[in-house]
């Protein structure tokens, strides 16, 4: 197995009277999109900034592309790309100029024109940064992160504050990058973003990782059950549901035309339910299965919602 591009062991970060990161361990493998998911203030940004070499750590082992960010900072910065949360460029700087300026900082760069093409910014190449929309600005930030053809790209909250349409655009961009065999570290507090984009996710809360794995693994590990919603054309006659549902919690609606079941083994329960309705001679109007989301997992693990 190829060595990981990032390794974090026992990372701590203490500010004067506050410990933002309290022992974080994870690694990111080549070509992987790794997500740090958690609410604001969980310590995601601090962690990422330590990895980017712009914040010193209090203790712990960190390696990014084999560099220690606290020591070989410049060498590290030459080889990574970073799209920071809430940064800006001077209003009167043109997009093309921004790319040229940042290109001058790196020994090895990609063609700025092609990069703009890829990010659909060619038309805006001569526009002032100040005249761009939020999504365009974010694409410029991504372009700047890619100017040195980095092996590792950091995205800190790449879609925060953007409208849903733009968010989708950014998502497809990140998906494209992933096809280029780059490793990506992404922080977000959007569940969908983590579920959709990440190969693996670490859920971070109060400076600690409380769950780590593929989104499916995390969902599977939880005690949260899948939910089945069922509706019939005519009311279901009085009486208990079949024995197959004995292990599950269930509940009828007032008019007995709908039934909700919380199932431990949703696939089997679903089959049993369909058979049961059929045996009662009723017509099934609708049935669907809802698996637990990372949101549910998060609520289960922390007792609070991701979005406060």
């Amino acid at each position: 197995m190829t060595p990981p591009v990032m390794e974090v062991r026992g990372l701590h970060k203490r500010y004067d009277d506050f410990e933002a990161v309290r022992g974080i361990d994870f690694e990111v493998r080549p070509g992987e999109v790794f997500g740090l998911l958690g609410p604001n203030g969980a310590g995601k940004t601090t962690t990422v900034e330590i990895l980017e070499g712009i914040r010193p750590r209090t203790s712990g082992e960190v390696r990014v592309l084999g560099y220690d960010p606290g020591v070989e900072t410049l060498a590290l910065k030459r080889n990574i790309g970073v799209a920071l949360q809430s940064t800006n460029l001077p209003e009167k700087m043109k997009v093309r100029e921004a790319l040229a300026l940042f290109a001058s900082f790196y020994p090895k760069t990609v063609d700025g024109g092609k990069l703009l093409d890829r990010l659909q910014l060619s038309e805006k190449a001569d526009a002032y940064y100040g005249t761009l929309s939020g999504g365009q600005k974010q694409r410029v930030a991504i372009a700047l992160a890619l100017i040195n053809d980095p092996q590792v790209v950091f995205f800190d909250e790449p879609t925060t504050g953007l409208d849903p349409q733009v968010r989708l655009e950014i998502h497809s961009l990140i998906t494209q990058l992933r096809e280029g065999r780059r490793s990506i570290l992404l922080t977000t507090h959007y569940i969908e973003e983590a579920e959709r984009l990440c190969d693996r996710v670490a859920i971070v809360d109060q400076g600690k990782i409380i769950a780590i794995g593929t989104p499916k693994e995390i969902q599977a590990k939880t005690a949260t059950r899948s939910r089945i919603d069922l509706r019939t054309e005519t009311p279901i006659p009085d009486g208990a549901p079949p024995e197959a549902l004995a292990a599950d919690k269930w509940e009828f609606s007032g008019d007995r035309r709908a039934l909700t079941v919380h199932a431990a083994q949703p696939a089997r329960t679903l089959v049993e339910l369909v058979k049961w309705i059929d045996s009662l001679g009723l017509t099934l109007a609708d049935i669907h299965l809802k698996r637990p989301t990372l949101e549910d997992v998060f609520i289960e693990l922390t007792g609070k919602s991701l979005r406060d």
């Binding site: 980017e52 070499g53 712009i54 410049l74 060498a75 910065k77 030459r78 970073v82 920071l84 809430s86 940064t87 800006n88 460029l89 001077p90 009167k92 700087m93 100029e97 040229a100 300026l101 940042f102 001058s104 900082f105 790196y106 930030a141 700047l144």
Partner: protein, 628 residues
């Protein structure tokens, strides 16, 4: 290196896209420039140097503090610097580029203003133009670097604004750029020596006005260079990429470290006062460089009279004398001075004074040489011959006058004029003639000089300086103290104590002078060289208007007024070998006296002084005695 260049280029572009930058670097200084030029009437002579230096300093301060100080804070507050933080660069290119960009933005402005000064105000291209250019570059960089420090220590826009105001206004007002330092009270003059901008301003003035080179103003150059180095070092050290990073309050003390070079220079200057003396001299030089046109005036040029003429003064010299035709002051770019009903003469020369004697008392203790000299200039005497036997004090004062630090007449020492013999008797005169004397000082005022001796004096062109005033004063007549001009130069206390010491009745002076007058008349009548010297410093011959009294006695003795005036101007200048003085003609030094009325008809008019001009400067007579 690539990063430095790219950063500098993009920032030059960015600043040019910013209207505020263009306004502050170009329009703002130009507004100042024209206002100042108008205010100081820069078209009338050397004031343009001062205007240029002032506006340059104000521009450099603005560029440094507002341009350099605020920009970096704005970029930090807007999360722009944060983006650069993740790029592989250090703060160095950012700090250095701010300084270089400031220079590139401002230098064209400085050159444009120079061009305007050159083409429209007649400013000369300094011979040491390279020094001027290099100094402006160093100064601009130094203040831009100071701006960078402000950006480094300020935690917010509001804070940086406060720091900037705290530095900008004192620097602008105390540096001399807005008001001449020599007008400040003493303590403020010393305080000004601790301010970096003072050295910027005085440095530029020294180069433009005093024609000095960078090497001659090395303390200023060194302090500014040290500022650049220190500021870059400290700015990089304290550099903050994000608004979240706050600076410890103690770190603000780094500003003090930056000011350290100027503290050292300030302490040195407070002790040596070199710079303050220089500032005075520069102010003097600027006052002397004004162009004046004295119009509609009767001119006595040292020998002959022009009944109505005009005299143009430029750069401390007489540029042209107009007779009859009426020149236009505006076309000549000169300040007009109305001379209707007045007479313009060369500054008077007193060929015999004893500056370290006080005239009122016999002791020489505490004699005030400076005051005696001030009294002479006050009275329109622009050169004196000092016969002081111990001239140390006189030499010291005359050196200060020569530098322009202080105002007073030119001083010649009797040892500089070979073979002047002081005489009292005919026997003395005969001995002096035999010894080959060039001048006989004192003559023989109680003894008739035989015709044969007179003939010899005339034949050998020996200057005869009778000092009738000294003879007259021997009468101890109280009336001697009653002259208006004398009362203006002598403090009332001194005057009263002298008056009290004099006897109530005394011998009339007329009779005492009979012999002296006759001697003078006969030498003049025979075509001899006669020179006026008052002997001021002798008992009751007071420094100041003594030469006026001497000439009055000459006229009373029967010498024509015009000849008497020549003896105190062109003839005295010849004896003292001051070739550039004693006459009104193109190329002569503009040391002049203008009086109300016509002294050629009534010699008493010589005391009715309207204006004294010394080397081109209109002397502010009322403040002559206030100096120091």
């Amino acid at each position: 290196m690539k990063a430095y260049l790219a950063y500098i280029l993009i920032n030059i572009k960015l600043t040019w896209r910013d209207r505020m930058v263009v306004f502050f670097n170009y329009l703002f200084p130009l507004i100042f420039f024209f206002t100042y030029a108008q205010l100081f009437r820069a078209e009338q002579g050397g004031a343009i140097n001062q205007v240029y230096a002032s506006v340059l300093v104000i521009g450099v301060l603005g560029n440094g503090f507002f341009g350099g100080g605020i920009r970096a804070v704005v970029e930090r507050e807007q999360n722009i610097l944060r983006r650069f933080k993740v790029a592989p660069i250090t703060p160095m290119p950012i700090v250095v580029s701010s300084i270089v960009v400031g220079l590139f933005n401002y230098l064209p402005s400085a050159l444009i203003m120079f061009a305007i000064s050159y083409f429209f105000y007649g400013m000369k291209v300094p011979g040491n133009w390279l020094s001027a250019l290099v100094f402006i570059v160093i100064g601009t960089c130094a203040f831009r670097a100071l701006g960078a420090i402000i950006a480094s220590v300020a935690n917010s826009m509001a804070e940086s604004q406060i720091i900037i105001q705290l530095l900008y206004f004192p620097m602008m007002f105390l540096s001399g750029a807005t008001f001449p330092v020599s007008l400040f009270p003493n303590w403020l003059q010393i305080a000004s020596q601790f301010i970096p901008a003072t050295y910027l301003f005085s440095g530029i003035q020294d180069i433009l006005v005093r024609r000095e080179s960078l090497l001659q103003i090395w303390p200023a150059v060194l302090a500014l260079l040290a500022t650049i180095a220190l500021c870059i070092f400290i700015s990089v050290k304290l550099f903050r990429w994000e608004k979240g990073e706050k600076l410890r309050p103690a770190a603000k003390l780094w500003i003090a470290a930056v000011l350290a070079p100027f503290f050292l220079v300030g302490v040195w200057q407070a002790y040596s006062r070199d710079n303050l003396v220089k500032a005075k001299e520069v102010t003097r030089q600027l006052r002397r460089s004004r162009s004046l046109l004295i119009e509609n005036v009767r001119v006595f040029d040292g020998a002959k009279v022009i009944e109505s003429g005009a005299v143009l003064i430029r750069d401390g010299r007489i540029a042209q004398v107009f007779e009859g035709s009426k020149p236009d002051a505006k076309a000549l770019r000169a300040e007009p001075v109305e001379g209707q009903g007045k007479t313009l003469l060369p500054g008077l020369i007193d060929a015999q004074v004893l500056l370290s004697r006080g005239a009122g008392r016999t002791d020489t203790e505490g004699a005030d040489v400076a005051r005696a000299l001030a009294a002479h200039l006050f009275s329109g005497v622009t050169a004196v011959l000092s016969a002081d036997p111990q001239p140390q004090k006189v030499l010291a004062e005359s050196a200060r006058i020569a530098r322009g630090e202080r105002l007073g007449p030119d001083v010649r020492l009797s040892i500089q004029v070979p073979k002047m013999s002081t005489t009292r008797t005919v026997a003395d005169i005969e001995a002096a003639i035999d010894a080959g004397a060039s001048a006989i000082v004192g003559g023989a005022n109680m003894e008739r000089i035989p015709d044969a001796v007179v003939a010899k004096i005339v034949e050998k062109k020996i200057a005869y300086i009778p000092m009738l005033s000294v003879r007259e004063a021997q009468s101890a007549d109280r009336a001697l103290l009653d002259r208006s001009l004398l009362q203006q130069v002598l403090p009332p206390i001194a005057l009263n104590s002298i008056r009290a010491a004099l006897p109530t009745s005394s011998a009339p002076s007329e009779a005492m002078l009979a012999i002296a007058n006759d001697n003078l008349r006969r030498i003049y009548g025979a075509g001899g060289v006669v020179v006026a010297g008052s002997g001021a410093g002798n008992m009751l011959v007071f420094h100041g208007p003594a030469i006026q009294r001497e000439l009055q006695l000459w006229v009373r003795a029967g010498i024509p007024a015009q000849a008497a005036l020549s003896s105190a101007t062109i003839e005295a200048a010849k004896l003292l070998r001051i070739t550039y003085a004693g006459r009104i003609g193109a190329g002569a030094e503009a040391s002049l006296l203008m009086v109300n009325g016509n002294p050629l008809a009534e010699i008493g008019a010589l005391e009715a002084i309207s204006l004294v001009i010394f080397k081109g400067e209109r002397v502010d007579r009322s403040s002559l005695f206030d100096e120091e």
